[in-house]
């Protein structure tokens, strides 16, 4: 297994230019979409089958250290979770992990059942009507296998999106959080950097300037499959209860005869 690659998105450096969103669309030939105006500059409201990098514009009253309105910008992307709900859900094996730790959907194998779409705790995976398959950020799978980094990281003019080996990026990120805290951004925090944390850590992790819920990110996302055992046991219990009832109904030789 090669060294794990990662993308570190430092939202404190994002200027909302959306070069990343455009570069992603260009490199992956994702095609035109009708704009979805959300009341702000953000377009679209959420990931789609043709938008894998999405710049979020969050207005946070009193978000700045001096109490002024802050415009929190975040270039959101598939998190390439170390424990990925989409991957565990896929019944065809189309969703796989590369040797770099990134998560990819094989477009030749996917049969479009959409279970992965419903299994991502972040709502990243989307269904494409034209191909009939599920789509999401590929971590520029073709580029990373040819010595290049993802298109979004390459295009970012402020180095808000950094690409490299995960362990090195995590160290850089930790230092950056301390610097920001020193500057007065007391809520500066990493999201998904800790491989002992939720979902085994995210291979696309973030530096946020406010708590996750401010960015509509789940504070403690979990693998949806963790419930399979309990839910199955409860179903077995129901089967026993129901089966027993039917058994008893048929064993008693028709209480009171055929008119019972």
């Amino acid at each position: 297994m090669a060294r794990t690659l990662a993308m570190f998105t430092d939202t404190s450096l994002c200027i909302g230019c959306r070069a990343c969103q455009v570069a992603c669309k260009q490199w992956n030939e994702l095609g035109l979409e009708v704009p979805e105006w959300t009341g702000g500059y953000q377009n679209h409201a959420h990931f789609t089958d043709k938008t894998f990098r999405l710049v979020r514009f969050v207005e946070e009253p009193a978000g700045k250290p001096n109490g002024d309105l802050a415009w929190l910008l975040m270039s959101d992307v598939c998190k390439h979770c170390a424990q990925a709900g989409c991957l565990e859900a896929c019944p065809t094996g189309a969703i796989y992990r590369t040797e770099y730790g990134t998560v990819n959907i094989n477009q030749d194998v996917c049969n479009g059942c959409r279970y992965c779409v419903s299994s991502c705790p972040f709502g990243v995976v989307a269904f494409n009507e034209e191909t009939g398959t599920a789509k999401k950020c590929t971590f520029c799978n073709d580029r990373i296998h040819n010595g290049l980094g993802p298109a979004c990281a390459k295009a970012c003019p402020t180095d808000s999106i950094q690409f490299g080996f995960r362990d090195e990026l995590v160290k850089k990120a930790a230092k950056r959080v301390e610097t920001l805290k020193g500057m007065g951004f007391k809520d500066a925090q990493l999201y998904g950097a800790d491989s002992g944390g939720f979902l085994g850590g995210l291979n696309a992790f973030f530096l946020l300037l406010a708590k996750p819920s401010t960015y509509n990110l789940p504070a403690d996302p979990k693998l949806p499959q963790r419930n399979v055992v309990v839910d199955s046991l409860l179903s077995i219990g129901s089967a026993l209860a129901v089966g027993l009832g039917v058994l008893l109904a048929f064993r008693t030789r028709g209480k009171g005869g055929p008119d019972a």
Partner: protein, 274 residues
Amino acid sequence: MLKSPHWEMMIVWYFFFGGIAGGAYFTAAIADVFGTARDRAVVRAGYLLALPLVAACGLLLIADLGVPSRFLNMLSTFKFWDPMSIGAWAVGVFGMFSFVSAVLSLSPSETAARVRRRVGLVGMLFGFFLASYTGVLLSSSAMPFWSDARLMGALFLASGASTGIAAITLALFATGHAAGEGWGKLKHADHYSIVVELVLVLALVVLLGAAAKPLTAGPYAALFWGGLVGVGLVVPLVLDLVASRARTVGALAAVLVLIGGFVLRYVVLMSVQA
């Protein structure tokens, strides 16, 4: 934030038919092993209902895929922790059991009956699975409400039982077997499964608390309370207990149970994906 998988009417029908197929099969299997020779009509009806229904299930599942021609790709993997993966296999295996049991149920011979009972005991496990696994599939996703519903699989199973038994009841009524001893036993079994289903529906709602809103409040509430709980469960139960001797009433009650079973799956699926 989260994305809907857009499992719509084809999947509603799949869940509904799968519940009936599984429920009819395991009822038939239990009647075959634990009942008497006079329950044969129940056994035959159950197995003969299950087969075309599970075939329809297979077709619906394949047709709903984004790329139907690739449905066999699901048989390239087996992830025992993944309801979608096991389900893909189980539908096929259950289909095979249904076929064998249906054929054997048409034979009057004692040898066929002996084989049929053994096959039924194993096949019924797959029947239980088919009726319930789709609930576990929903509750193991990340979707709000579904992911909170620990009892969804258990509830789907009870509904599979009540609708399967109701379907057999209607089959007996339609083919003139309503005067047999099996009818009374079916009615007992149906009362019991309706009560279990009612308990599970209420337990689900109570345990979900505020998360139950998509079902209990909002645009689907009328269908949920009126269509499922009222028309689909309470009314048929009361009808049966009050007018237990009238076959037509019994058949009507069965129709209502079937409607309720459809409504359950419809509201569970659609209320989250509006």
